[in-house]
Subunit: 222 residues, 2 copies
DNA sequence: TAGATTGTTAATCGATTAACAATC
DNA sequence: TAGATTGTTAATCGATTAACAATC
């Protein structure tokens, strides 16, 4: 089995964790660390050392007994797996607070993912540069996407505009979408779609907080 | 088995979906719809009808054959499961773009989750009201949390401040944290913690986009 | 009635963890 | 050497899906 076949078979969860490992490793590297043990990575990520080792086994990386994993090598390997060698260009759809937060958040951090354009219906924003990113009208989406070779869109428009935006993006030839709106998107199945829903996350926290309050009350009463 | 025991046993994924079902149902209700079929809910959420029915089975709700589920009843039941009857108060830690986006995003939508305070180290923000939310100094966190009965914190501070913030929050007696920073948090295990990491999500999309590009190229070559 | 739908069990799939051999 | 660590298989756990009975 060649490398690409191996990569194609990686579990979804392993992909997520590889991205997280890399970030942790980059921080360790900055601190001048050269080697890291599986249990150290595990501790940072709140998972078990076995899981780290299993993930690394799946990507075919071997550590050194008693020394652990070479941080630099591992970063390079993960980058080879996750990143596109040429890099990929990203557009932000909706340049409100959230869109701007994402630009700020992301821009220096990921050399292989470059935000090259923003889109907004606000006439005051169109034609200007916001946090260093040129802002275009959604009417020009098809041309801009082609021109700037954009393959990923991060959508932060208001909820009721979600599927109108989806249609435009698909029509413009985008390949992957990260949807921050609370409305689930409808796209053809060849489009990579990730729903990223903060309301659900917050409600989940609220639910478990409620449970912990109830448990506490039950204990007091017993 | 009483209701509370039943609720405590719900799978994590079911909790997430219940939150999503409720949002979809609220929209349907606004449109004047009274009943909904499992396959309709499924379509909105990109899941199967069986899964919807199974989730509803787990929460003990029965629909009507050939009519489907009563939207209003179902919304009420989900709310009973997820929400705290008294509601819960939320604080935003870090009033930058992301913090403000979350305030705007959330504030009217969730009657049982109320953002009552923001915290920021910026002297210019402290003492002012931002998007209707009063902003405090992190130094006053303990008092404010107690005073305003805040049980959940949404953290949007810079990455290197994550664990300093975590310590303050735990010390202030917060019960649940939604962490938007890319650094995994360290908290005692009685604290409800949800990591919400946009870089991982974006890198995941990028990975699968890369895979779809590679597949396409392989097809062309064959 | 036939067809559409709900409700539920059993089977399958995917992810995590336990157990342990290998070895520096 | 003993102990710590990696690497891997098998077992377990949790979530989804297939199959189908019930019924309007």
């Amino acid at each position: 089995m060649n490398t690409q076949e191996l990569i194609a078979k990686l579990p979804h969860k392993t992909i997520e964790r590889l991205s997280q490992y890399r970030r942790a490793l980059l921080i360790c590297q900055e601190k001048g660390k050269e080697y890291i043990f599986s249990h150290e990575i595990a501790e940072i990520q709140h998972i078990t050392a076995v899981q780290v080792r299993r993930d690394l086994m799946l990507v075919g990386y071997s550590g050194t007994l008693r020394k652990g994993y070479n941080i630099k090598e591992l970063i390079n390997l993960i980058s080879e797996i996750i990143d596109c060698p040429r890099g990929l260009n990203v557009a932000i759809i909706g340049m409100g607070n959230l869109g701007r937060a994402i630009i700020k958040y992301l821009n220096k951090r990921r050399p292989r993912l470059t935000i090259v354009a923003g889109f907004d219906i606000d006439e005051k924003k169109i034609g200007k540069s916001i946090k260093g990113i040129p802002c275009y009208s959604p009417d020009d989406m098809k041309e801009v996407v082609k021109e700037l070779d954009i393959s990923i869109a991060v959508v932060t428009v208001p909820a009721h505009k979600t599927n109108e935006t989806a249609k435009r993006l698909v029509n413009a030839g985008i390949r992957g979408i990260l949807n921050f709106t609370p409305t689930p998107m409808i796209v053809p199945e060849n489009i990579v779609l990730e729903e990223y829903d903060m309301i659900t996350s917050l409600e989940k926290v609220a639910f478990y907080v409620k449970q912990s309050i109830l448990e506490e009350e039950a204990e007091v009463n017993s």
